[in-house]
């Protein structure tokens, strides 16, 4: 297994820290090594925020993201900060309503926040994105992601978040979105 360096980035309040914790926890349940880091500004909501998850099948000596090979981008600011010329990121999943990408780039845009809103859970955007990531890359088993979601989200909000996660899984696994070639990459 390669060293997965996953950076989830967007804006404060989008639940990126929690999503990173859930992803890392699921990886630990799968018997892998995982760590999660967080970086954010001084504001409680808004402003750039990022959560890094490193997953490996070997001990992780350095716990931070050096060069992400999987990037989730939910805002334009996060895109500007993390996608710089000369630093090609292997996989980028971005919110197509908020992040303008140059045409022709081999990246994967989906209206992530809009879908979370349609499921009556706008704050579930990061969890929905986790579903997409899980289905696309098979990094962690979906059952263990759901277990980690259940352990980290208050019972009253659990159903709404599982709906978001499953929607993400459905999209990530759907041929409609032409993601299937990615599935064998890890």
């Amino acid at each position: 297994m390669k060293r997965w360096q996953i950076l989830l980035c967007g804006s404060g309040g989008q639940g990126l820290g929690l999503a990173g914790k859930i992803l890392a926890t699921a990886a630990l349940y799968d018997g892998l090594y995982a760590v999660q880091s967080q970086s954010y500004g001084a504001r409680a909501r808004g402003g750039y925020s990022a959560s890094g998850v490193v997953i490996n099948n070997r001990n992780i000596y350095f716990p931070l993201i050096e060069q992400p090979n999987l990037l989730l981008v939910l805002t334009e600011e996060a895109y500007q900060k993390n996608v710089t010329p000369g630093h090609d990121v292997e996989h980028i999943i971005f919110d197509s309503d908020y992040v303008p990408l140059a045409p022709g780039q081999q990246k994967y845009g989906l209206p992530l926040a809009r879908w979370a809103g349609e499921l009556d859970n706008p704050k579930g955007v990061a969890i929905l994105s986790l579903g997409v990531i899980t289905a696309l890359f098979g990094l962690v088993t979906p059952e263990n992601v759901e277990r980690a979601i259940a352990e980290n989200i208050a019972p009253a909000l659990l159903e709404a978040n599982l709906r978001c996660y499953r929607k993400g899984m459905e999209v990530g696994g759907s041929e409609k979105y032409t993601f299937s070639p990615l599935k064998n990459l890890n």
Binding site: K21, A24, T25, L28, Y33, A34, V35, Q36, S37, Q38, S39, Y40, G41, A42, Y61, F62, P63, L64, E66
Partner: protein, 377 residues
């Protein structure tokens, strides 16, 4: 909470404090240390302990000192700006020999700096922030597991030496989540209590290893507490001999036993080309760099500090004698580098960063290749 857990550094420090027997926390929320206060406010009342949010950091450390004088194991948590405010009372705690633990989660910059970004630049403020000759103990975790382990150790050292102990973490380690093992039981040192006749009792008479055995407030033994120079009864004094003996004892009770503090950890070949001395998050970069550079024909050893103060001069000098080149990697302008040089390793050079960015493994590798080339032929 025991067994394998997935915790942030701040959470691990809190659980470490509680495992060591802390039942009192007073603090003022500050990024990036706030989670410690938050978690204490949840956990301590349920254990019969006390959590108080004070009006500022001056009051916080004062409350901690008061609680400790009453017999409780007490701690606070803050960041650089709060550490500055606490300095006067840290001096009082050293002078009055009050055990307590201060967790200082270092953030970037002087003054209020950048609230949520990491730094390692409170090293000298921890050592010399309070005025006057003194000694202080400071420990620096470089993983979430060490946040737990070294916080337990900090309480044990505070009780043993009857002095404040600082745990120096940083914003990255504080918010990093890693797997941690929390044992059912940890080794705990509780403070010794006075015995013998109440009449003529001297709370500040040096006991074993120069550490006195003062009572708690409220015991039948009388306890006088002052920041002034005082005699063994606790009465203030302007006698030069009393002053000299007291200050020397406060220093010697710690400095004579530095070998019993957590020792630096060396990882690497017996005789490497280069040794990187580091601590905290920077040490993690150094360890990763050492593994990656092996296949590039350079042998790199890493000396990870756990005790920052008193600086482990002898241990560092002994290990560094094995390598022709020594690099100190730290996120400041060379605060530990000066100590390394003072320990006789004048050939040491610094890899320093002061811009909130963590020193990355790749940066260490490039630096070693550029600056230590002559050592590697």
């Amino acid at each position: 909470m025991t067994g394998n857990q997935f915790l942030q550094g701040n959470e691990a420090c809190t659980y470490g404090g509680l495992a060591a027997g802390a039942l009192f926390f007073a603090g003022y929320p500050i990024s990036p240390a706030t989670e410690i206060a938050e978690l204490c406010s949840n956990l301590l009342p349920a254990k019969g302990g006390v959590f108080i949010q004070m009006e500022d950091e001056i009051a916080s450390i004062a409350a901690v000192i008061g609680a400790s004088l009453g017999g409780m194991k007490a701690f606070t948590a803050t960041s650089g700006p709060g550490l500055s405010l606490m300095q006067e009372n840290i001096g009082l705690a050293i002078m009055a020999e009050v055990p307590c633990v201060i967790i200082n989660v270092q953030r970037f910059g002087l003054s209020t700096g950048i609230a949520t970004q990491p730094g390692q630049s409170d090293i000298m403020a921890t050592r010399w922030g309070t005025h006057g000759d003194h000694s202080i103990i400071a420990l620096a975790p470089s993983s979430v597991q060490e946040c737990f382990d070294l916080t337990v150790e900090a309480f044990n050292l505070a009780e043993r030496f009857r002095t404040p102990v600082v745990v120096l973490t940083d914003a990255v380690i504080a918010h990093l989540r890693e797997s941690v093992y929390i044992p059912e039981q940890v080794k705990i040192i509780n403070r010794t209590r006075p015995s013998g006749p109440v009449e003529g009792y001297r709370p500040y008479a040096p006991g074993e290893n120069l550490v006195p055995v003062p009572p708690n407030f409220g015991d039948e033994y009388i306890l006088r507490v002052t920041g002034l120079v005082h005699d063994e009864y606790g009465y203030s004094s302007d006698n030069p001999d009393v002053g000299g003996q007291l200050v020397n004892r406060l220093i010697d009770k710690i400095e004579n036993y530095t070998r019993e503090l957590p020792q630096p950890e060396y990882t690497g070949p017996e005789n490497p080309d280069v040794i990187i001395i580091s601590y905290g998050i920077s040490a993690r970069s150094a360890l990763a760099a050492a593994r990656r550079i092996r296949c590039q024909g350079i042998s790199l050893g890493v000396l990870k500090l756990k005790t920052i103060w008193p600086f482990p001069e002898q241990a560092v000098a002994k290990i560094c004698a094995r390598a022709p080149r020594v690099v100190v990697a730290e996120m400041n302008k060379g605060q530990i580098l000066r100590e390394v040089k003072a320990a006789g390793i004048t050939r040491a050079i610094g890899l320093n960063r002061t811009d909130t960015r963590v020193i990355m493994p790749g940066e260490i590798i490039s630096y070693v290749k550029e600056r230590c080339a002559c050592a590697t032929g």
